[in-house]
C-alpha cells in the first residue's frame, strides 16, 4: 500500500457534538479488504483508537488444550514478522503505540492506540499491527515462557475466591460444554499446547470475515479506510466454521447452592438464573428493570438493602450475560463468611419482591432519567467511543442504534417493566455458587 497519503488535521479542537445536536456522527468505512469499521472522526487530540473483535476464545479451542486461546492472545504481542519480542516491544514504544490482545469465552479482542502527529510513524504503526495479524512469530521459546507463567498463575488462582467461584459456576452451568473451558485450564492442558496449535488456532480465528472493527480519532474517513487496508492486507480471508453446540438447560443445580471451600475471611457469592435474549423485544424494558433491581449503583434495590441498610458488602450488582447459545442473569456480591446466608436471603427476597409487586412510578421515572441522561457519558473520550462502538457491534446492534438508543428507550413504559420482571425473573430458579467458608444460615447475630 505505497503512496497512500494520510490527510491529517492536527491541532484542531473539534467538538464531538456540533452545536446543540445530540447526534454522534458515526459512519461506516470500508477499504479494499472487505473489512468494514464503524468510525467516528474527531481531532480533539492527536490520537487514534482501533478496536477489533474476532469470534474466538476459549469456547473455540479444542478440549484437552484449554488455555490455548489465552496463550495465543498473549503471544500475538510477542513479536511478528521475524522481529523478536523485545525488539517488537521497543518498536511499539518508539512509535508511541499501545497494543493489547485479550481472549474471552467467545471473543478475542484487540485494542490498538497510536499517536497521529507524524504520518510516517502512524503508517509504520499500522504495518506493525498488520504483521501481528498476518505473521506472528509464535516462537517456541516465547510459548514455553508463557506456559510457565500460565501454570504459575493457575497455582495462584487456587486461592483466588472470585476465580474459584466462577469456575464452580461454569462447571455447574455448562458441564462439558465448550463454555466451561475458560475455567477448566489445567497444567496438563497447558502442557499439551504446541506451536502448531497456536498457528492453527490463529488461522482459524483471525480472519477478515470474522472480525468487527471500530475506529475513533484523528483521521479523515479516507485515512480510516486506508488504515483498514493497511491493517487487514493479507489477513486470512475466512475463519474456520467452528460450531458451538446448543447449551443444554442448566438442569443440574437449579435452585441449589454449591460451595467451594476456601480459607478466606470473605466469601465470594454469585446467584444466576436463565436470562433474556438480546433480540427480545422487551430487552430495553429489561434494562430499565435491572437498573432498578441491581444495575443502578447506589440507587438500586440490592445496593440499598445489602450495603446501605445492612452494611453487608462493599459492592453488589445484577447484570445480564450473553453468549451466542445462552443468556443469563447474575448477581455478584462478597461478604464475610458469617453473613453469607443472610446476604443470599436478602437478594432472593428482593428477587421475589420485584416480581410480585413490580416497581413504583418514581423508581421508573428515576431509572429512565438516569439511563437516558447518562448515555452521553459513553462518549467522553475517544478511547471510550471506540470501545462502545465495538461493544454495540458485539451485541449485533445496527449502526442507527448509536443515535437511536434513547428514543427506543423512551418507548418503554412502567407496565412493560413490571411485566418483564414477571416474565424474566425466576426466584425459584436461582442457583447460588459460593467460594469461601460460608455460614449458610439465613441470619446470624453478628
Amino acid at each position: 500500500m505505497n503512496g497512500v497519503k494520510f490527510f491529517l488535521i492536527a491541532g484542531l479542537f473539534f467538538g464531538l457534538l456540533p452545536g446543540a445536536s445530540a447526534q454522534i456522527d458515526v459512519k461506516t468505512v470500508k477499504g479494499g479488504t472487505g473489512v468494514t469499521a464503524w468510525f467516528v472522526e474527531n481531532h480533539n487530540v492527536p490520537l487514534v483508537y482501533v478496536n477489533m473483535t474476532f469470534k474466538g476464545g476459549s469456547a473455540y479451542a479444542p478440549a484437552g488444550k484449554e488455555g490455548l486461546s489465552d496463550l495465543m492472545a498473549r503471544l500475538l504481542t510477542a513479536g511478528a514478522g521475524g522481529v523478536d519480542k523485545f525488539e517488537f516491544q521497543e518498536k511499539l514504544d518508539d512509535l508511541g503505540v499501545k497494543l493489547d490482545v485479550e481472549s474471552g469465552i467467545e471473543s478475542i479482542d484487540l485494542s490498538f492506540q497510536a499517536v497521529t502527529e507524524n504520518a510516517e510513524n502512524l503508517q509504520a504503526a499500522l504495518r506493525l499491527l498488520n504483521s501481528v495479524l498476518t505473521r506472528p512469530n509464535f516462537s517456541p521459546e516465547d510459548l514455553e515462557h508463557e506456559k510457565t507463567l500460565a501454570k504459575a498463575a493457575l497455582k495462584q488462582l487456587r486461592s483466588n475466591g472470585g476465580y474459584q467461584m466462577k469456575k464452580l459456576r461454569a462447571e455447574k452451568l455448562f458441564g462439558a460444554h465448550p463454555y466451561a473451558r475458560e475455567y477448566s485450564v489445567t497444567e496438563s492442558s497447558v502442557d499439551a499446547i504446541a506451536v502448531d496449535d497456536l498457528r492453527r488456532f490463529f488461522t482459524e480465528r483471525l480472519a477478515r470475515d470474522n472480525v468487527k472493527v471500530s475506529i475513533a480519532g484523528d483521521l479523515t474517513p479516507e485515512a480510516a479506510a486506508a488504515a483498514l487496508d493497511l491493517i487487514f492486507n493479507g489477513v486470512t480471508e475466512s475463519a474456520a466454521k467452528t460450531e458451538i453446540p446448543a447449551v443444554e438447560a442448566p438442569a443440574a443445580g437449579l435452585a441449589q447452592t454449591f460451595v467451594h471451600k476456601l480459607s478466606n475471611p470473605q466469601s465470594n457469592i454469585t446467584l444466576v438464573q436463565p436470562g433474556i435474549s438480546l433480540a427480545d423485544e422487551d430487552y430495553l424494558a429489561f434494562t430499565v428493570m435491572n437498573h432498578i433491581l441491581g444495575g443502578g449503583s447506589m440507587s438500586s434495590r440490592l445496593y440499598t438493602e445489602v450495603r446501605e441498610k445492612r452494611g453487608l458488602t462493599y459492592g453488589i450488582s445484577s447484570y445480564p450475560e450473553h453468549f451466542d447459545k445462552v443468556d443469563l442473569i447474575a448477581v455478584t456480591v462478597a461478604t464475610r463468611n458469617e453473613k453469607v446466608g443472610e446476604t443470599v436471603g436478602v437478594v432472593k427476597a428482593e428477587w421475589r419482591k420485584i416480581v410480585e409487586s413490580g416497581v413504583s412510578p418514581k423508581e421508573f421515572e428515576e431509572a429512565m432519567a438516569f439511563l437516558t441522561g447518562s448515555y452521553i457519558m459513553r462518549f467522553t473520550s475517544l478511547a471510550g467511543i471506540s470501545s462502545y462502538l465495538l461493544m454495540l457491534q458485539k451485541l449485533n446492534k445496527d449502526i442507527a442504534y448509536v443515535n437511536g438508543r434513547n428514543s427506543l428507550l423512551k418507548k418503554v413504559t412502567l407496565q412493560d417493566v413490571n411485566r418483564v420482571a414477571k416474565k424474566v425473573l425466576k426466584p425459584d430458579q436461582l442457583m447460588t455458587v459460593i467460594s469461601g467458608e460460608p455460614n449458610l444460615a439465613p441470619s446470624s447475630s453478628n
Partner: protein
C-alpha cells in the same frame, strides 16, 4: 463494576512506574479570596464536565489510634447535610451523572462526571457538604461495616496485599506512612460519628481545598459559579498546620516473613526509604521515576531481563516509585516467583541489579527510551475527561505548582543518566530497607526482625 468505588491509594499509585503527565493540559488557574484554588482544563470533546474537589488531607493526618478515619469520613460524606438529608446521589443519578471519591495518604477527593448543564447544581451541593455534614449513628454504623468488608475485599482476602501492608508498617514505624489508608481492622471498628466529625471540622475548609473542573468549560465560565458557591464559604483561619511525625533514619535492614496457606507461590516485596519533592535528599525526583521505568518498564528492562528471561527464576519483577509524596516515601521492588526457587537467589539477583545501576549507572539509550515512554503517557492522558484532573490534583496536593506540572516534560528531559545513577546510589541502601517475603505455610504467621521497639 462496583458502584461508588471509594478507593484509597496505596503507595504505588497508578503513576508509580513513572507514567506521569507530559504537562500539556494547558490548565488555567485562579484563587478565591477564601484561599480555595480553582483549576480548569478545557476539553471540548463532549458537552460534559468532571467536577472535582480535592482536600489536602489524607491518612497521614489522622490521630494516633484512628487509622482509617480519613477514608471513613470520605464514605460518610455521602450521607447528607442539614439542607440535603441523605445526600445527593439520587440527584446525580437523575441527570445521568457518575460520582465517586478517593482517599490516599495525602489527599481526599470527591467528583461527579456530569452533563455540562448540571454543573452549577452540584457545585452547590458539593460546597454544602464541605461544611454542613450531618451524621447519625444509624448511618455511621452500617457504613463502618461496609468499610470493614472493603478491607476484607482489598487486603484480607489477598495475602500479597497483607504482605505489602506489613512491609509498610516495618519501613515506617513512627511516620503515618506505616499505616494502611483503609486502617487497621481493630482501629476501623472503633471509628464512629465523633471521630469522623472531629476530623471533618478540623480539616475540611475552602483554604484547604482545590476545585478542579475539566471538560466543556473555561475558567471564565466557571469563576462566577465558583465565587457564588465556594467563594461564600469562610476560610478556616484556625486551620492547623500539618504535623506529620518524622520517621527517624533507619540503620539496619528489617525483614518481614509472612506465611499463608493461601500462598501457592512466593513474593519478594523489597522497599527502600526514598525522597519526596519536599524532602528530596539532594536528588532529582524525576530521576527516580525514570529509574523505575528503566528497571521494569518493559520486558527487556533491567529486572525483567535478569530475573524473568535470563536467570528464569521469576515470573514477574516490578519496580515502582512515585515522587508525589510528602515527607516520606518508598521505592519498591516486587518479585513473584515459584515456591521451589530459593529466596536468597531472588534477593541476590535483585540486589546485584540495583547495585549495578548504583555503581555503573544507566545508558543514554535506556534513559531516552524511558523518557519517551513516560512522555507519551501525557499525550494519552489528554483523551481522558478525568485523568488530567487526577494528575493535577495529585501534583497540587504534593506541593507541586501548576507550572511544575506544565514544565514536567522539560524537567524529564533535563534529568541525566548521572542523576539516575546518583538516585540509585543513595536510595538502594540496604540499611534503610525492608525485605518482605510471602511464602506458603500451614498456618498464617507474620514475623518481623530487625526492629528496635515493638510497634503498638
Amino acid at each position: 463494576m462496583f458502584p461508588r468505588l471509594r478507593s484509597f491509594w496505596p503507595v504505588a499509585v497508578f503513576f508509580a512506574c513513572g507514567a506521569a503527565a507530559a504537562g500539556v493540559f494547558n490548565p488555567k488557574t485562579a484563587t478565591l479570596k477564601n484561599g480555595m484554588q480553582v483549576v480548569v482544563i478545557t476539553n471540548r470533546l463532549a458537552p460534559v464536565v468532571s467536577h472535582q474537589v480535592w482536600y489536602k488531607i489524607g491518612s497521614i493526618d489522622e490521630s494516633p489510634g484512628e487509622s482509617g478515619n480519613a477514608h471513613f469520613l470520605e464514605h460518610l460524606m455521602f450521607k447528607g447535610t442539614s439542607t440535603k438529608p441523605g445526600g445527593f446521589s439520587k440527584e446525580i443519578a437523575l441527570v445521568g451523572g457518575q460520582e465517586n471519591a478517593f482517599t490516599s495518604r495525602t489527599l481526599t477527593g470527591y467528583y461527579q462526571n456530569l452533563p455540562k448543564q448540571n454543573l452549577e447544581t452540584f457545585m452547590a451541593l458539593e460546597a454544602d457538604r464541605m461544611t454542613n455534614l450531618v451524621l447519625t449513628d444509624e448511618q455511621v454504623v452500617p457504613e463502618r461495616q461496609v468499610v470493614v468488608e472493603e478491607r476484607r475485599t482489598r487486603i484480607e482476602n489477598n495475602p500479597a496485599a497483607l504482605l505489602s501492608e506489613q512491609v509498610d508498617a516495618a519501613l515506617f514505624r513512627v511516620s503515618p506512612y506505616g499505616l494502611p489508608v483503609i486502617g487497621w481492622k481493630h482501629e476501623i471498628e472503633k471509628l464512629n460519628t465523633e471521630t469522623a466529625l472531629r476530623f471533618y471540622k478540623k480539616w475540611y475548609a475552602p483554604n484547604n481545598a482545590i476545585l478542579i473542573v475539566t471538560g466543556d468549560i473555561t475558567l471564565e465560565e466557571l469563576m462566577p459559579l465558583a465565587e457564588k458557591h465556594y467563594g461564600v464559604i469562610p476560610a478556616n483561619e484556625n486551620l492547623p498546620k500539618r504535623n506529620i511525625p518524622v520517621e527517624p533514619p533507619q540503620t539496619g535492614r528489617r525483614t518481614v516473613v509472612m506465611k499463608d496457606p493461601r500462598a501457592n507461590a512466593q513474593i519478594l516485596n523489597l522497599a527502600f526509604r526514598a525522597p519526596t519533592l519536599d524532602n528530596a535528599w539532594g536528588l532529582n525526583p524525576e530521576a527516580g521515576e525514570l529509574l523505575a521505568q528503566i528497571l521494569s518498564g518493559s520486558d527487556s528492562s533491567r529486572l525483567s531481563a535478569r530475573l524473568v528471561y535470563n536467570d528464569k527464576i521469576a515470573h514477574v519483577a516490578r519496580a515502582s516509585y512515585d515522587s508525589m509524596s510528602i515527607h516520606d516515601n518508598s521505592f519498591e521492588i516486587v518479585v513473584q516467583f515459584s515456591a521451589d526457587i530459593e529466596r536468597e537467589r531472588i534477593l541476590n539477583a535483585v540486589s546485584e541489579e540495583l547495585q549495578r545501576v548504583a555503581k555503573t549507572g544507566v545508558s543514554e539509550d535506556e534513559l531516552l527510551k524511558a523518557r519517551k515512554k513516560m512522555l507519551i503517557e501525557g499525550v494519552y492522558a489528554r483523551d481522558s475527561l478525568a485523568l488530567p484532573a487526577q494528575i493535577i490534583g495529585r501534583a497540587l496536593t504534593s506541593g507541586y505548582s501548576i507550572s511544575d506540572v506544565e514544565e514536567w516534560p522539560g524537567r524529564l528531559e533535563r534529568a541525566t543518566a548521572a542523576d539516575v545513577q546518583k538516585f540509585a546510589a543513595k536510595v538502594f541502601d540496604d540499611a534503610a530497607s525492608v525485605v518482605g517475603w510471602l511464602m506458603p505455610g500451614a498456618e498464617p504467621s507474620v514475623e518481623v526482625k530487625g526492629v528496635e521497639n515493638e510497634r503498638r
